[in-house]
Symmetry: C2
Subunit: 114 residues, 2 copies
DNA sequence: ACAATTATTGGCGATATTGCCAACAATGTC
DNA sequence: GACATTGTTGGCAATATCGCCAATAATTGT
């Protein structure tokens, strides 16, 4: 793996990793509809507010969300509609590739010769 | 977070997590072009073959790739073109949302008065 | 049967992620 | 000022991921 690929793929992996958590996905779905403050997201997610705050920090770090302070409130919003589009793609892909939770049916009866 | 959402989002997160590694992304890019055996992927990735094999197991578990044995070789292939499409969506989204590696620039003037 | 090739699995240490608590910071209210 | 509200950060234990080595399986060739 050359240096350029490593850099490109590492960056892409970081974005995917930031999405790869149920709570963060829920938060993003909520932010698709409207901007929200941390308290609202916390209630929806059902974890401690400090946990949610850290999840939001993850999303901030990769640039998926923006934050705007209003008084003591932090209003989070999606950085871009592309996030929605990305997740739509993933969902449509899921229906086709991931059938069950373990979709790969191991077929040992491949008697092919090379 | 209700039970249904939890299940749906956990599943989606699992798929994203399986994609969220540079080596696995490279392997998928290679498989987009043609089916490959583990050795070929190993050479491209540059890690130990056992590491690559485990990465492939991750992709198998979520159903992103298929494997077909030919003699002692395991020929891996993409389960579906949707994977390609998904990653294209992600790439196009990246250009717009993730500018730098740290794109969210918070206020630099944090006067700490402790 | 034996050895070589290809790949997978178990195990281990190193590292990263997750979720909560306590502490702290920032703002608004009395 | 004192106090409450809203978020963030540090720290910690539990858990998961990662990458390599050793061992194993499966197949092919001699």
């Amino acid at each position: 793996m050359n240096k350029q690929d490593t850099q490109r793929l590492t960056k892409r992996a970081a974005l995917l990793k930031s999405l790869a958590h149920p709570s963060r996905l829920l938060m993003i779905e909520m932010l698709e509809k409207a901007p929200r403050c941390v308290g609202e997201l916390t209630e929806a997610v059902g974890s401690d507010i400090t946990t949610v705050s850290k999840h939001l920090a993850v999303l901030r770090r990769v640039g998926l969300v923006h934050v705007e302070k209003h008084g003591t409130y932090s209003e989070y919003s999606l950085a871009c509609d592309c996030v929605t589009h990305m997740l739509d793609c993933i969902e449509s892909g899921m229906g086709k590739t991931v059938r069950g939770s373990t979709c790969e049916t191991p077929k040992p009866e491949n008697k092919q010769k090379k």
